[in-house]
């Protein structure tokens, strides 16, 4: 049925609005430390995002949780300030400082009112160059992380990810929980913390982005004061590259939840693969694009099987996954998974239509400016672009890369990636795996999903 087309705008071919000329300056300090800066004076605050290569996968065997523990301790006393004094000082100037560790990177964020810039950067510098690692702080943080580890084991969303990684990667470092286990946490000594900070928080593995009310000259001077005392070179272990086993597997953690939480994954693509951008667009059409995706249409809209179903790419430095996740009541897990597998196979076999691709492109190019609306989000984008070595002109080039993708590219990458027979599936709940609960189970179960998309610079 043709409906009245009053929305004349809908029919226009969408031309992605040119991204506001984002003036990204490459600032190099007198001492040779580089940062990317966007000066933005209209709000009196400054955001700095920092990453060092070297994350949880660098934890020594038997001491999983080390990077995470360091990240929890850097603001627990530094220089001449103990933990209480350091944190009071931060609150007195209303600065916000946080550290965390993901698989490949150790990251930090500093936010400050522009007027308190000097003191905020001074405290940050103390945290990264002179952490005290005092025994009472170490034991307190160890106890707090111990609680996180224990509580994680009560959470279906955590359990399903842990089960997936163990099934998929065995004892590879990427399969270790970021916080470690009760045993590895207990094995971490003060010397390990000191050694990690000295070995990872260096200058040759450092990326910095800054957005806010600060000029290039002002930042240049601050960079040396803040980072200049770090050692020149980091020392990082080699992480073995890893790929997923073929043949597929389903792991079930039987727990008494009415809704099963399902995570499925197959081999993905590294960020520097020539097909990464086509894969990124393919993901949007399959399961990344919310209500514009095939899985959302088939699983949620048509059948009411789930509140949320989604897929995403997860490229790491030494591995790459394509994940999907869905939650549905136990009785309908098999039915839902059979639809998911069917949709993956269908896209692999038939590709997508030109209209689907065109719609995906107008969303992905048209929404790109939405990632650059806050100082915080701009800083995050610039850091991601640096970590992936995409180049300082990437913001200008990126929409062109999307536009250049064809339906043939999508068909090729769908065939490369979407292999339901290789899916590793983890389920937490009490799932009925029959594709049709009233019929004999004639399908062997496979796939499920992982975690979350994050702020990747795609």
């Amino acid at each position: 049925m043709i409906r009245a087309l009053f929305l004349s705008l809908v029919l226009l071919v969408y031309q992605a609005a040119p991204l506001r000329a984002l003036d990204i300056e490459r600032v190099t300090s007198p001492g040779g430390i580089e940062a990317w800066l966007v000066q933005e004076d209209s709000i009196p605050l400054i955001v700095m995002e920092v990453a060092w290569k070297g994350g949880t996968a660098s934890d020594p065997a038997g001491k999983a949780g080390l990077a995470n523990m360091v990240s929890s301790l850097l603001d627990e006393g530094a220089g001449d300030l103990d933990a209480a004094a350091f944190q009071s000082r931060l609150d007195d100037i209303a600065a916000r400082m946080s550290f965390s560790a993901d698989n490949d990177n150790f990251t930090a964020t500093l936010s400050t009112l522009a007027e308190n810039r000097a003191e905020a950067f001074r405290l940050f510098s103390m945290a990264i160059t002179e952490p005290r690692f005092e025994e009472d702080a170490i034991e307190r943080i160890r106890a707090q992380i111990g609680v996180v580890i224990a509580r994680n084991a009560d959470r279906p969303d955590w359990m399903v990810g842990d089960a997936w990684y163990k099934a998929a990667l065995g004892d590879h470092p990427y399969a270790r929980p970021a916080e470690g286990t009760a045993e590895t946490l207990a094995a971490i000594a003060r010397d390990d913390l000191v050694e990690f900070a000295g070995r990872v928080l260096a200058r040759d593995n450092l990326k910095i982005s800054v957005v806010g009310a600060i000029s290039a000259a002002e930042l240049g001077a601050l960079l040396d004061r803040t980072f200049g005392r770090l050692p020149e070179k980091a020392s990082l272990p080699d992480i073995e590259p890893v790929t997923l086993p073929t043949g597929g597997e389903t792991v079930i953690l039987v727990r008494d939840f009415p809704q099963s939480v399902v995570l499925f994954g197959v081999e993905g693509l590294p960020r520097d693969d020539d097909d990464f951008i086509p894969a990124f667009i393919m993901n949007y059409m399959l399961g990344g694009g919310s209500f514009s995706s095939r899985l959302m249409e088939e699983v949620r809209v048509k059948r009411g099987l789930a509140y949320s179903v989604s897929t995403y790419l997860q490229p790491l430095d030494r591995a790459a996954f394509f994940f999907g996740e869905v939650g549905t009541k136990n009785e309908r897990v098999g039915e839902t998974l059979s639809i998911v597998r069917r949709e993956l196979a269908r896209m692999a076999e038939e590709g997508v239509t030109q209209t689907e691709l065109d719609d995906a492109k107008t969303y992905l190019t048209g929404s790109y400016p939405l990632r650059f609306t806050t100082n915080r989000s701009i800083a995050s984008q610039l850091l991601g672009i640096q970590l992936e070595n995409l180049g300082i002109d990437y913001v200008e080039r990126r929409n062109g890369l999307i536009e250049a993708v064809t339906v043939e590219d999508i068909a090729r990458v769908a065939q490369r990636l979407l292999k339901p027979e290789n899916m590793i599936v983890a389920i937490v709940g009490k799932p009925d795996l029959s594709p049709n609960p009233n019929l004999p189970d004639d399908e062997d179960m496979r796939p499920a999903p992982p975690a979350h998309p994050g702020d990747a610079p795609f």
Binding site: D91, R151, G304, Y363, L370
Partner: protein, 455 residues
């Protein structure tokens, strides 16, 4: 963040919302955002608010309805939220399921949320697409088309959402029971998403009746934040929304007064899926709207000093000095049309018990009531809260949300805008006065989530 169709009030996410909200406005020491946002009213009674932020050529477009889960008829809980889902199903002009696809095709993101006192819909999109989303939002204000073919699967979706948020989450289940105990028969004691057995019975007709009664321009507020001025917005608002006729009387909300517990209540919930215990306590407290003017900002200052962050009293005592908790926090929920609440939660260390946490928390509260607070504590709390207003200005959506929530819960634009000034004026006496309101002769509801029990 763009998690399709979510509820604003989630377990523990509510903490964040409450915190954000207390913090969202203005600041001291010359950091105030200048003049308050401009507002005007259309001929049909629809209110309009503009929050300029010209850093990027992007706008956040929101329509807020003055109706929420607390306005549902008993027996039909979940209807406000269910209708929120169904608003994406189509109109005479938009095919079922096309609303979000059209927004996406134009580079935009859209979503909606439901709370006790409001329901809101929004799109974030390039500025030049603003007329498109305004036209579509105006269209679905009165032209919604619903059929069982779309409605019934969506009801299953909502039941899955409830399973995800509450049935699968023992802490949320406990919070749900505690809310009912605190607010009694007041609708704030219900789950926003509704009770499972009542969601299951909601019909297309129920949704359309609710829609016809409450979705009318005189019951709605438009908020646009981002790269826009009032001068630019006014003609667009007149064109797309001003032309919609009122189709129902303006909704004057008259709800029963909350009847607070007459004595302290305790809910102990054992759950075999849980290995780590959780302790929670809710105290009756007025909302921002119902509080005395001089008390209004003091509740947030109290929450900050007592239990926000690592410099707070509860954290220092329970986590650092006594080493019995791994986390502890206090918060104030004032963004309610009717009454609010004050809350404290604590997590024990592994192997620790809840009784010692409770004893230690009560001792800290008693110490505060007896000994008062220091000048340093007051100054630090005011600084942190006022600075949060500046941080909030970094995000146009945060600003739009803060103003929308304030307006829907009975605050005036000027009160929201001048919030940091109110915080700056809070004195030690103010903090102690509201501390006595919260902690003296004010029966509370305590919740304990413990391992064990029947599966």
């Amino acid at each position: 963040m763009f998690r399709p169709r979510y509820l604003a009030a989630l377990p523990f996410a509510a903490l964040l919302v409450a915190v954000l909200l207390g913090l969202v406005f203005g600041s001291e020491r010359g950091l105030t955002a200048g003049a308050p946002p401009e507002s005007f009213t259309l001929g049909n009674g629809m209110n309009v608010l503009v929050i300029p932020d010209h850093r990027a050529p992007v706008v956040t477009h929101m329509v807020w309805y003055n109706v929420g889960a607390a306005d549902e008829t008993p027996g039909k809980t979940g209807l406000a939220h269910f209708l929120e889902h169904l608003m994406f199903k189509g109109t005479e002009k938009i095919e079922p399921g096309q609303f979000s696809r059209i927004v996406a095709r134009n580079g935009g993101q859209d979503n909606a949320f439901t709370h006790y006192d409001f329901t809101a819909y929004f799109q974030v999109i390039a500025k030049d697409r603003l007329p498109l989303v305004m036209e579509m939002e105006a269209d679905r204000m009165t032209n919604l088309v619903l059929t069982d073919a779309e409605v019934l699967p969506e009801r299953d979706v909502v039941m899955e959402e409830r399973r995800m948020r509450i049935e699968n989450n023992p802490v949320a289940t406990l919070q749900s029971e505690m809310g009912a105990a605190l607010y009694g028969d007041h609708p704030y004691g219900r789950d926003i998403i509704g009770h499972m057995n009542e969601i299951a019975e909601l019909t297309t007709e129920d949704a359309l009746d609710f829609y016809a009664r409450f979705y009318t321009p005189n019951n709605a507020t438009l908020i646009v934040a981002g790269d826009i001025t009032a001068r630019e917005l006014r003609p667009l608002a007149e064109q797309f929304y001003g032309s919609i006729a009122e189709r129902a009387p303006t909704f004057i909300r008259e709800r029963p007064q909350a009847v607070w517990p007459e004595e302290d209540l305790r809910i102990e919930r054992r759950d075999p899926r849980v290995t780590q215990a959780t302790w929670l306590r809710y105290f009756p407290a007025p909302s921002y709207r119902k509080a005395e003017t001089r008390d209004r900002a003091a509740f947030d200052v109290l929450a900050e000093i007592l239990g926000r962050g690592t410099t707070s009293r509860l954290y220092r005592a329970l986590v650092v000095e006594q080493g019995i908790a791994s986390g502890v926090q206090s918060w104030y929920e004032g963004s309610r049309l009717d009454d609010g609440r004050f809350g404290i939660y604590a997590l024990p260390r592994v192997g620790g018990d809840l009784a010692s946490l409770e004893t230690a928390i009560e001792a800290e509260v008693a110490r505060l009531l007896e000994g008062g607070i220091t000048d340093d504590e007051l100054a630090r709390a005011r600084t942190v809260i006022a600075a949060s207003a500046v941080y909030a200005r970094d995000n146009q959506r945060t600003m739009a949300y803060a103003y929308g929530e304030g307006l829907m819960t009975g605050l005036a634009i000027s009160q929201i805008h001048e919030w940091p000034e109110s915080v700056r004026r809070v004195t030690k006496d103010d903090v102690m006065r509201v501390a006595r309101l919260v902690f003296e002769n004010n029966p509370s509801v305590t919740g304990e989530l413990l391992p064990g029990g029947e599966s």
